[in-house]
Symmetry: C2
Subunit: 711 residues, 2 copies
């Protein structure tokens, strides 16, 4: 399956750049044009200020390079530590008769750019009619090797007659959030056909890139400029030029393997083989809904691209290493939106998620200390060592639920993968976070209260006894043996007991008056009103109480969930990309087929919605995880391992879907789920008996056997 762009358009250039991001987990590159674009400087300095995350506006620009190695951070004077946008090594440009190929100015036809999702390969073909009257067929190919994560391989094929000049190199005059994070930069030759760039970030990490060019008989000339090294040569057409770049850093756990003797095709074959394995483990088949299927595949592609294998010192940032808008930091998204996909498709990879939080415990303890508390306080915006980096105090100080979310993630992993995990290194996380909570809780007449918190709905900044937070904290305290306090943490309800209040006094907030105030529906509600008004109104950025009910489904009756749905939905702006997916899943539970479908469409289409920016600032990776959650927890109705011993399904396929099939690893046992309107078939691909429960019918499926449950 391919994502295809058939016309280059300036207004969608950024969105495609994000959408076409490639990566190996270790190294990620945005889908920028190899020859770059005119009038799109990447070194414009500006002072990016801390802002309300929903209302921040980004400058319009033609292109935004992004080269990211997870874990490489720099210190910004206002925004704190942020992931560094590294030098750009993709540059590979043909110049013919003095004209440089330029999608803005050149006469180009037959343009086609395609990202092959199955092989993670990007290919661009076009015909270039030069001003001098020549006609040249151009083909760019590239991939970041999944088999050799330090290596990016590019190929440029020019067909036609005459001579072309090729320019290729490394450009280190790049910024992150308008800021220069390089303490030192050197760009030199590497032999006769290479450029070496070495930068040291302002956090003292060293990053080195060596780009080597291959073209038959080419003689390369090196042009060194401050922060830029370029190789140039003249080639007789037709010609094929390869560029291979190896990236290493002083944080690396491994060394890149030599690959000089391997051809482009050999490298591509081993790369594609790794991707085939990944898809085997995780492909979600949707029949009857082409756009839904494409959206799902796109989400899975980015989830598979993002995940860093075997390095628990980093996890997945909020923009899926496809942009630096969220500073490359780690949020609660990790546990709530990303972890489940890996838990149920590739448990070994899921382990690095939980190990990340365990290794970040010293950072979390330092955060707690800084706030004057004992124990461990996980950061709202985490850097690679677990220190808080969020520059806006309302989130940083008050959105404390993340510390409990982390424990929920650890418990989820333990139940789904390794029951001993909580007794191992994670035990200290349980103990230290519980210590923090006991210090953070206010006791009034012996009763615990959690005051001054922001729940998942970030439009209610400082509230008391947020239901979501209190329940998650109670969960974490229970696991740490503090059941008494956990039980006493209040969840406020309406007088009839059916409606769970988002927080104490929620009902006293002002009506948001969407009809009157939300005049520009092209932008979120937060873009229409002042923050002050937002902060005193019932407007919800995203699901809050519903999210709670999604995480603890058995604790709330359908009537309670329905009541919360009816009450909160009219107030919910879905300004957050985390909202729609949660609503889709809850709608499935409630049997609200139409609503489930609407929210699924909002979820699935987000990064493909080029007209509204799509992935311009990066992939909404949590939303990508949510797409999987909607299909599996929503439409297939799977219960999580936290609350179920058997693989439990309650399928409610959307009308349009003729088939939904996906692999799943259930408590160590691989299985395949295949749902159609007629029924559900589960195949046990593991070596142990698999207990299942479909629509209330319990069975145990023997290894290699399958069972079908008619609808």
């Amino acid at each position: 399956m391919k994502l295809v762009e058939t016309t280059f358009q300036e207004q969608t250039a950024l969105a495609y750049e994000g959408l076409f991001t490639q990566g190996s987990g270790y190294l990620h590159i945005r889908g920028s044009l190899e020859e770059h674009l005119s009038d799109a400087p990447q070194n414009t300095r500006y002072l990016r200020l801390p802002a309300n995350v929903t209302a921040e506006k980004f400058a319009a620009r033609g292109a935004k390079w992004g080269t990211y190695v997870p874990g490489i951070f720099g210190q910004h004077p206002l925004l704190n530590r942020e992931m560094v946008n590294l030098p750009w090594f993709l540059g590979l440009a043909p110049i013919v008769d003095g004209e440089r190929l330029d999608m803005r100015r050149s006469n180009v036809s037959d343009y086609r750019r395609a990202l092959n999702l199955r092989t993670a390969t990007l290919e661009r073909t076009l015909v270039w009619q030069t001003r001098s009257g020549r006609r040249i067929a151009v083909r760019f190919e590239r991939f970041v090797s999944a088999a050799r994560p330090h290596l990016c391989v590019q190929r440029l094929t020019l067909t036609g007659a005459g001579v072309a000049e090729i320019e290729a190199g490394i450009e280190a005059d790049v910024l992150t959030s308008g800021h220069d994070h390089f303490k030192s930069v050197s760009v030199t030759t590497a032999g006769t056909d290479g450029v070496r760039c070495r930068v040291v970030t302002d956090c003292d990490t060293e990053v080195q890139m060596v780009a080597r060019l291959r073209a038959n008989g080419a003689k390369w000339q090196f042009i060194g400029e401050p922060r830029r090294g370029t190789l140039r040569c003249q080639c007789q057409l037709p010609v094929t030029i390869e560029k291979r770049t190896v990236v290493t850093t002083s944080r690396d756990l491994d060394k890149p393997q030599e690959a000089e003797e391997l051809s482009f095709e050999q490298l591509h074959t081993e790369h594609a083989a790794v991707w085939a394995e990944r898809w085997e483990k995780s492909e979600v088949v949707i029949e009857g809904d082409e756009s839904g299927s494409r959206a799902m595949m796109t989400s899975l592609y980015h989830l598979l691209r993002c995940h860093v294998t075997n390095d628990p010192r980093v996890t997945i940032d909020a923009k899926g290493y496809a942009g630096d808008a969220y500073f490359g930091r780690f949020f609660w998204d990790t546990e709530m939106y990303l972890l489940p996909f890996y838990l149920y498709t590739d448990p070994a990879r899921a382990k690095t998620f939980v190990d990340f939080r365990v290794q970040a415990l010293p950072g979390a303890m330092a955060n707690a200390k800084e706030y004057g508390y004992r124990g461990a306080r996980y950061p709202w915006e985490s850097d690679e060592v677990g220190r808080e980096q969020c520059p806006s105090w309302q989130y940083r100080d008050h959105e404390v639920h993340v510390t409990a979310d982390v424990v929920y993630g650890l418990a989820h992993y333990a139940r789904a993968v390794d029951p001993t995990y909580l007794q191992g290194p994670a035990a200290q996380v349980l103990a230290e976070t519980a210590r923090y909570w006991l210090d953070r809780i206010t006791f009034r007449d012996g009763q615990p209260h959690l005051l001054g918190v922001m729940g998942p709905n970030e439009y209610a900044p400082i509230t008391h006894n947020n239901a979501y937070t209190n329940r998650l904290v109670a969960f974490a305290l229970s696991l740490a043996g503090e059941g008494a306090v956990a039980k006493a943490l209040p969840i406020y309800r309406s007088t009839d007991g059916l409606l769970v209040w988002q927080c104490e006094g929620f009902d006293e907030l002002a009506e948001p008056e969407f009809d009157k105030l939300w005049t520009n529906r092209q932008t979120g509600y937060a873009g229409n009103v002042s923050q002050e008004r937002l902060y005193r109104s019932k407007a919800l950025k995203q699901a809050d109480v519903l999210m709670l009910m999604l995480l603890f489904p058995h604790e709330f009756s359908d009537a309670e969930v329905r009541r919360a749905w009816d009450y909160y939905l009219p107030y919910t702006t879905h300004d957050s990309s985390l909202s729609a997916g949660a609503h889709a899943i809850v709608a499935c539970r409630l049997g609200l087929a139409r609503e489930a479908w609407q929210f699924w469409e909002m979820t699935a289409g987000l990064d493909l919605d080029l007209a509204h920016g799509g992935a311009a600032q990066g992939i909404h990776i949590a939303n990508a995880g949510a797409s999987w959650l909607v299909a599996v927890l929503g439409f297939a109705g799977m219960g999580t391992a936290l609350w179920h011993d058997a693989l439990t399904l309650r399928p409610r396929l959307p009308e349009r879907w003729k088939r939904l099939a996906f692999p799943v690893v259930w408590k160590g046992c691989a299985a395949a789920v295949d749902i159609s309107p007629a029924g559900t078939t589960i195949t046990n691909r593991g070596s142990q008996p698999l207990p299942v429960n479909v629509n209330g019918t319990a069975r145990t499926i023997a290894p290699n056997a399958k069972e079908t449950f008619p609808s």
Copy 2:
């Protein structure tokens, strides 16, 4: 009365610089040393960040120049518009045998620096033993002419033998909050004996300074450097050098008068005459308490210095033009802490305060619009045109009471000075602010509520129905004819009705645990705990409910005031310099003599408390106003014109005070109040009968008559 420094010490240098600030209303200069200090650069760039106002820390440094013309603002990239620290024109340094006088390095004895409060003249004398073995008596004098507000006059007298070099000029390499606000700078000669400096700020205001030197037979040599112009000459000792600097700006309403023909003594005489008049109108005599008297005189000196006469386009900033820590902006301090002093001592000057708010109405309307409201919203931190400049959203967005405080100030002026004022230009302020409130109020079941506000206690950031705010808003709405809504705005009380809650749910907040958490008592509570903890606790930065009771004294019984005192005082940190004065006045009302005295001492001593920084970052000018309020409203027990037709006193002199005497203008009638333990004498100095009421005894005093009321 003089403030005297007898030893120069580095650790108190900044505090004296602030305390010894001189000014004419139009022009203000900090008390920096004419020869400057070594190792105290004034051009260190840094990025000052928005911060919690109580917890912000300032870099330690040897000196901080400050040259301010009210109304000259610049645009800071993070902090918004701020008053610009202008070029430093005080430089006047002797150099003997190559040694420059330097309080840090030179051998100096018999040092004495004195600020004469009555004449606003600063004089410094010292004996300088040079390294070359010479002994020179040095005397610096200076004043900013009250008679010619554009003019600063300096004199340096050197006594001894031999030759000295004199260096004098203008230094434009200065910053504000670490930022350069000058778009252009030129420094040139002005004739043979002058330096002319012209800067244009980044808000396009032009400021020009011309400094001229006078010394018998001196031949001046000009040295021009970027941003600095210096005149040098050789003089035979003894010698007297005069430096006169005239400052003008493109905002000026008047032109400086020529004064060349006048001698230093003549200029000083006319200057001192103006100050004598001012003191005549406002001196508060305290007998039996020398330090209290000195503190009161210091406060009055700065109040008299600060006030800009006849220019309603500016008012008094939070640091009294003696520092730029609070960005030279205008706060509610204006109405609540400063206005009364002028109202009751110099009503013509008081008028510029209220006129300032009236002329700023368009700015206030623009603020409302920006927040999505109709009407006018006065800014928490006002620039010269009434636009909001506060960079921290919690204050900017939520501390809305200022808009009602402004109306309280207008009403206070109308009752005390001009009953027609509210029907004049101020009428529009009443109407537009009422329009804002009606839009800002949330109606629930027809009942008005004011949600999401910060009251004067800035440690409770987003609360509902703050009692102070609601009462002030009701006051403003009533004046605008919106009595029905005004009456319905709730004030929450304890179930027995006696205790006024600061806001809804105040009692649910966490106990502040001062004993456990406030470990460093050298700094405020806010410096000891995280802002997060602060924001969910009962800790009060300053009086909030008590402030309300002080402004509406007749609406609360003594029992209610006492209950509020008993409840809130244990929670009050007095981290704000606005707190102690209010407490002192309420203590007087409650007959709490010991507490009144303690809070008076906290109030009066603040800027003289050099060990704790004193006026290092500027004069606490609101606290200076509060000192007057404590004496007059507290110890003399005067009721304000808002609530009293007669001049009403209820004296409760502190034990130590043998006499408290002050002039007062009561509704157009000048009077003198003289209180001793034996009784109170009121003299009518006006031309109309003066109704008075002392301790409940009502009388009318004829013009030029006096009446004594025994205790």
